[in-house]
């Protein structure tokens, strides 16, 4: 009896097993989706490419199922995953070619016994880079590519190899507590690689430099602990991966994608169904939908980011003053914010845009104003709690000014709930942006933005439904990713609120 309980517990806390289970379920789901889509009911025929995908995914699923059983028996027999089982993970790495992110990340997890945060960062930096290369390579089927295409692709390949090399180095030299001194050099290179938008590289570079310099062990430990908690949450990691991927794609798209495909009318190719030249088809002006969606990511991320950061700063400052000074200040600030809070965000945005016109800046302002009260409330609650702590008292006794106390002592300690809140509301901002664009109240219609594409798609719903389906799918995935990441961050940073 005792051993059974022991094994059950072991299964629960062994990350590989949990992850294997998860990968199995998701691979199975995707295979079933492909199977359902592979048969065209209206024309009674099979879609060969989709069918091929189905076979690849179902084989992956079976293989993962086999690995799951093996891990389980290993844990039951030896209480640990054997080396041979880990070796079985290597063939699974090849599934990256099929775009199965679940199985690839599981494979990376399985093959290495030591899993520092750096190892995971390097693995995801590598996967992200390969995905970027894959997506950009689809441009090869177009009639022409941009001048910078070859250079950029070469750079991406070099970066991918660099990340792979670091992945191996991380398993060999980096431990949970420190890294060799020479790791500073790749660390700096990684931070420079941020300009491609691959934030996993930034994270990896930052933690390598931090570990190699060995200046502040407690900071390293804190950083490691936080990331271990976040990385343990599989969905949060996938959310982070998708966000970084979209971000990196929107940064690099200007080098590998031609903006003209997304905006110039091409009357020779109106409303074409998906093909290799136009992977997602074209719209009613013959504009390539794939390029439009890729460029649309830029707008969504920019608007989402600014309409989150502006109210977070303004609302945070108001909430901090309100919570710190209390009494009349608190009353005046919070009662005036109650007025803003009483109007639903999207209605206030509509009113502001009605008054000042529809363009990107106005949209950001309109979405920001409505979100101020929620941030102010979160910040105020934190500050009220914190301002009773001893460290605030001692800062006051040492003669620190009010501003110094608020911004040096209280605000840094109440950032965690704000970050969680911000992550969870970026998704909402992305949805609001596209909703307003869909109503004709957001981004100018000629700019490729997901809501604008959907607006066009809605008029061709009956005949060319793909125009409406793909951008919506992108919005949903991006918002879902932010929500997953937000949930993960909340569990990691702020366990009380869950």
């Amino acid at each position: 009896m005792k051993t059974i309980v022991h094994v059950k517990l072991l299964l629960k806390i062994t990350q590989e097993y949990v992850n294997a289970h998860f990968t199995f379920v998701f691979s199975l789901l995707f295979s079933l989706l492909f199977l359902a889509y592979s048969y065209n009911f209206s024309s009674q025929s099979w879609r060969p490419i989709i069918l091929l995908f189905f076979f690849v995914y179902i084989i992956t699923t079976v293989y993962v199922g086999f690995l799951t059983l093996r891990i389980k028996s290993d844990l039951a027999k030896f209480g640990d995953i054997q080396k041979t089982t880990r070796l079985f993970g290597f063939p699974l790495l090849l599934t990256i070619a099929s775009g199965n992110i679940f199985s690839v990340s599981f494979a990376f997890m399985l093959v290495s016994k030591t899993k520092t945060a750096e190892y995971t960062f390097a693995a995801y930096a590598f996967i992200t880079q390969l995905f970027i290369i894959g997506i950009s390579a689809l441009n090869l089927f177009k009639s022409y590519v941009t001048d910078t295409f070859l250079v950029a692709m070469g750079l991406f390949l070099i970066l991918a190899i660099f990340y792979l090399a670091l992945l191996v180095l991380c398993t060999k030299f980096v431990t949970a507590k420190d890294a060799p001194k020479w790791m500073i050099v790749p660390g700096i290179l990684l931070v420079i690689a941020t300009f491609t938008g691959n934030l996993f590289a930034t994270l990896l570079g930052f933690s390598l430099i931090q570990k190699a310099r060995k200046t502040n062990p407690s900071a390293i430990e804190k950083w490691q602990k936080m990331w271990q908690k976040i990385l343990r949450n599989t969905m949060a990691v996938f959310g982070l991966f998708f966000i970084v991927f979209i971000f990196s794609l929107s940064v690099t798209s200007s080098w590998t994608f031609d903006y003209d495909f997304a905006t110039k009318n091409n009357y020779g190719a109106l409303l074409q169904t998906p093909s290799l030249e136009h992977p997602l088809g074209t719209d009613n002006y013959g504009r390539d939908l794939f390029s439009r969606i890729v460029f649309g990511a830029q707008i969504s991320l920019i608007v989402g980011f600014f309409s989150t950061i502006i109210p977070a700063l303004v609302g945070g400052a108001l909430g901090a003053f309100s919570g710190y000074y209390g009494k009349a200040t608190d009353n005046i600030i919070m009662r005036s914010l109650d007025i803003l809070y009483a109007i639903p965000g999207i209605l206030l945005a509509i009113a502001i845009i009605a008054a000042f016109g529809a363009n990107t800046i106005n949209l950001i302002i309109a979405l920001s104003v409505g979100a101020i009260p929620t941030y102010a409330r979160t910040m105020r609650a934190n500050v009220m709690q914190l301002s009773n702590y001893e460290f605030v008292e001692s800062a006051r006794a040492l003669g620190a000014s009010d501003a110094a106390i608020i911004f040096k002592h209280i605000v840094p300690n109440s950032l965690a709930p704000m970050i969680v809140k911000a992550t969870l509301t970026i998704g909402g901002a992305v949805i609001s942006t596209s909703s307003l664009s869909f109503l004709g109240l957001g981004i100018e219609p000629h700019i490729p933005e997901w809501g604008n594409i959907l607006k066009v798609g809605s008029t061709y719903l009956e005949t060319h439904s793909y125009v409406a389906i793909f951008p919506g799918l992108c919005i949903m995935l991006l918002v879902l990713s932010f929500n997953f990441l937000g949930d993960g961050l909340r569990d990691a940073l702020d366990p009380k609120t869950n």
Partner: protein, 476 residues
């Protein structure tokens, strides 16, 4: 000065006095009460002056001071203060002259004397009375109330109303909502007033002569100063007379009244659907946390939260209306079935939010001590959950539902556009291109008022049902 009698003859006496005392702690009420009883004040003030001249308090005060000075306590305190001041000067390395030392010690000693004497007199039942306190004391007298009841009727009505803490809470909450609504109307009007667009130009076209534009502005009062326009808009909102819209010349209140029911109907049906689905789902998830069922439910809930409603609407139209032809694609008042898709689309995100909220709230409650106690006493799980956990977990959920309802009414405009429903949301969107200031103002403010009323009702019900809030109100 008055000698307090702790025993009062009848209950009625103390009633007005205690309520008065309670309200006098709050500054706004102090002012309000004073204003309402303004007719009585000349009379009572005269009484007060007359009483004050009787000097009993002053005499007794002097006497007590003399007593302390004579028995040597005063000199003792003074010496102690001198020592204290010297020690202070030594510590900070300051030089104090003898005279400075004496003055500060004397003032400190005087202050202490005053404090102690006041305390002594209070023990004897003697108070130095301000006018307002004197006025309060008068309320204990039946004869005083009888005489002043007619001139200060509003004053007594207020006291009667505020005698009950629950009633006081309700009145305060209503007042608060009213102020918020006025604030909302002012804010929305100001935003529209600041608009750089010119409705006259947009409607009359570029070729309109300046005279035509001026005429248009005069008809709709757009040439008046900000404050008069604001007053006009506010009074229009509360008298349900917003005039006619710029375009089409239709009566705005009338069109809003026509369009509001359908929006409200869809919103309420969505809310009902959300509650019916989300609460059981949340409870099941919380009772079996981290099970397959829980993961599946929460995953679906997160998808529901992440799906843009207009896209969901398009997908629904594509599958259920165009491909399967089960439901009509657009709303049609004659066909009740056409309401189904808009209701589901509008309710999806709120269902997801409530399910997630229910789960976390239930999980929190399930780990409380009283649940463990109930289990330890041998109650079966079903009873523990239904009788003890759910009732307590519902409290935060109801508030969240109120807040989400607001968001839902706001988001209705998108759903209405997708399904071509002529509700209030699509009305606002249609009017914003001109911009038709009174129409947008009316639409937004009436929605905000509805939301405020819903939240007000929820808060009041809350205060009524939650024993914790009730006891808190009574204590304060």
């Amino acid at each position: 000065m008055v000698i307090l009698k702790n025993r009062s003859t009848t209950k009625e006496h103390v009633f007005f006095f205690t309520v008065y005392q309670k309200l006098m702690h709050l500054r706004p009420y102090m002012l309000l009460l004073f204003l309402l009883s303004i007719l009585v004040h000349p009379f009572t003030y005269f009484l007060y002056r007359k009483r004050k001249n009787s000097h009993v308090y002053k005499q007794r005060f002097e006497q007590q001071c003399q007593h302390y000075k004579e028995n040597g306590s005063y000199t003792k305190w003074k010496c102690a203060f001198v020592e204290q001041e010297q020690a202070k000067a030594r510590f900070f390395g300051e030089q104090l002259s003898e005279q400075q030392l004496q003055t500060s010690a004397t003032s400190l000693a005087e202050a202490k004397l005053q404090r102690i004497v006041e305390k002594d007199l209070a023990n004897e039942g003697l108070y130095k009375q301000s006018y307002l306190q004197f006025f309060g004391q008068q309320l204990k007298k039946q004869s005083f109330i009888a005489i002043t009841f007619v001139p200060a009727i509003l004053f007594y009505v207020l006291l009667l109303l505020f005698a009950n803490p629950f009633l006081q809470y309700v009145i305060e909450r209503i007042l608060q909502s009213f102020i918020v609504i006025i604030g909302v109307a002012t804010l929305v009007f100001t935003i529209l007033y600041l608009s750089p667009f010119d409705p006259a130009r947009n409607l009359l076209g570029v070729e309109a002569t300046p005279a035509q534009v001026a005429n248009f502005n005069r008809i709709y009062g757009l040439d008046q100063p900000y404050l008069s326009q604001l007053w006009h808009a506010l009074s229009g909102l509360f008298t349900f007379d917003l005039g006619t819209s710029f375009a089409g010349k239709e009566d705005i209140t009338h069109s809003i009244a026509n369009k509001f029911p359908i929006t409200l109907e869809i919103a309420l049906l969505s809310l009902l659907m959300a509650i019916a689905i989300a609460i059981p789902v949340g409870i099941i998830s919380a009772v079996r946390p981290n099970s397959y069922l829980d993961y599946t439910f929460m995953f679906i809930a997160l998808i529901g939260l992440s799906i843009p409603s207009f896209w969901q609407g398009l997908l629904f139209i594509l599958t259920f209306a165009l491909k399967l032809q089960w439901f009509p694609a657009t709303y049609n008042p004659q066909n009740r079935l056409s309401l189904l898709m808009p209701v589901i689309v509008l309710g999806t995100s709120i269902t997801a939010s409530i399910a997630r909220m229910t789960r976390s709230s239930m999980l929190e409650v399930i780990h409380e001590d009283y649940i463990i106690t109930a289990k330890a006493k041998g109650l079966n799980e079903y009873k523990v959950i239904t009788k003890h956990a759910i009732r307590n977990a519902m409290i935060p959920i109801i508030t969240v539902i109120g807040l989400l309802f607001g968001g839902m009414l706001g988001g209705a405009s998108v759903t209405e556009k997708v399904f071509n429903i002529s509700g209030i949301g699509s009305y606002i969107v249609d009017k914003q291109f001109i911009p038709d200031i009174p129409a947008i103002l009316g639409g937004v403010v009436y929605i905000a008022i509805t939301i405020s009323i819903v939240n007000l009702l929820i808060d009041i019900l809350y205060a009524y049902f939650d024993p914790r809030i009730r006891s808190k109100m009574k204590k304060s």
